[in-house]
Amino acid sequence: MSDRAASLDETDRRIINALQGGFPVSEHPFAEAAAPLGISEDELIRRVDHLVSAGVLSRFGPLYNAERLGGAVTLAAISVPEAEFERVAALVNARPEVAHNYAREHRLNMWFVVAADRPERIAEVLALIEAETGFPVLDMPKMQEFFIGLRIAA
């Protein structure tokens, strides 16, 4: 159990669970969002501020959809022999279009997200990574998306 999760009280947990979406766009959004939680506008602002500074929240605000900004995103995977793993990771990470890269336990052991400002650039970046690393890159763009969210025990 994380120290930071353990320090959350019941109101913090209700805020995190209730406010992962639906924060209003209005003149007094914190007041509107606070009312159903049974707390004041001031208290909601203070608690969200604390959750952000404590690192429990990465941030509070809009989550933008990169594809809809006119760009494109894909998930890609490579199977890398252990002896070459660090060399390949350095090459992949050096590309500014690579936003995330994770090592995973599988024959396909390196999984990374590529984001570009135009769709054609994705194929170019994957081809560059194949050329630089010498390993085939599997392109796994999202075809359909089903709900995104996180719930913590209240």
Binding site: V25, P62, P141, M143
Partner: protein
């Protein structure tokens, strides 16, 4: 192959300035949209109507808390992957995406023979035992539609910069 609905024409420079000003979070003040408007030299009504439009068109997925999973004690991060019939993937994806421990759920292409899986569900738990219980719940939900499955645990974050519009 990316099913893109490119909307770059519908985002103008003012939208772009609003996105850049808010992508790291809203000001935590009683009237956050007014604060953004003031910082950008726009009217509050203009900022709010543009943000509503961005939310309706899907450029903004949602507005609110963006949790840091690691800080919430969620340390086991696994990608569960499933081979289900393509004709059922929409219905099954919606059911799996509705489970409270599934944070992301997508259909992605297979790469046969190496990669037979077409449904991805990101599962988070405090430890691997919890993740395995969650994966069993998904398996039960999929029933006989599940033809093959695997769990890929992440062992290391090699890079994490997030997606950002250039400022």
């Amino acid at each position: 192959m990316i099913a893109l609905q490119v909307d770059r024409d519908s985002i103008d420079d003012v939208d772009r300035r609003i996105i850049v000003a808010t992508q790291k979070g809203l000001p935590l003040v009683p009237r956050p949209y007014h604060a953004i408007a003031e910082a950008l030299g726009l009217s509050p009504d203009d900022v709010m109507s543009r943000m509503k439009r961005l939310a309706e068109s899907g450029v903004i997925r949602r507005i609110g808390c963006i949790p840091n999973h690691y800080a919430l004690g969620i340390r086991a991060n696994a990608m569960s992957v499933w081979d289900v019939p393509d004709e059922k993937v929409g219905e099954l994806g919606r059911r799996i995406g509705a489970l409270d421990f599934v944070t992301h759920c997508y259909q992605r292409p297979r790469h046969l023979p190496l990669w037979p899986y077409n449904l991805f569900a990101m599962v988070h738990g405090r430890d691997r035992a919890e993740v395995e219980r969650e994966v069993d719940i998904i398996a039960a939900e999929l029933g006989s539609s599940c033809r093959a499955r695997d769990i890929l645990y992440s062992t290391r974050i090699l890079k994490k910069t997030g997606l950002r519009l250039a400022e």
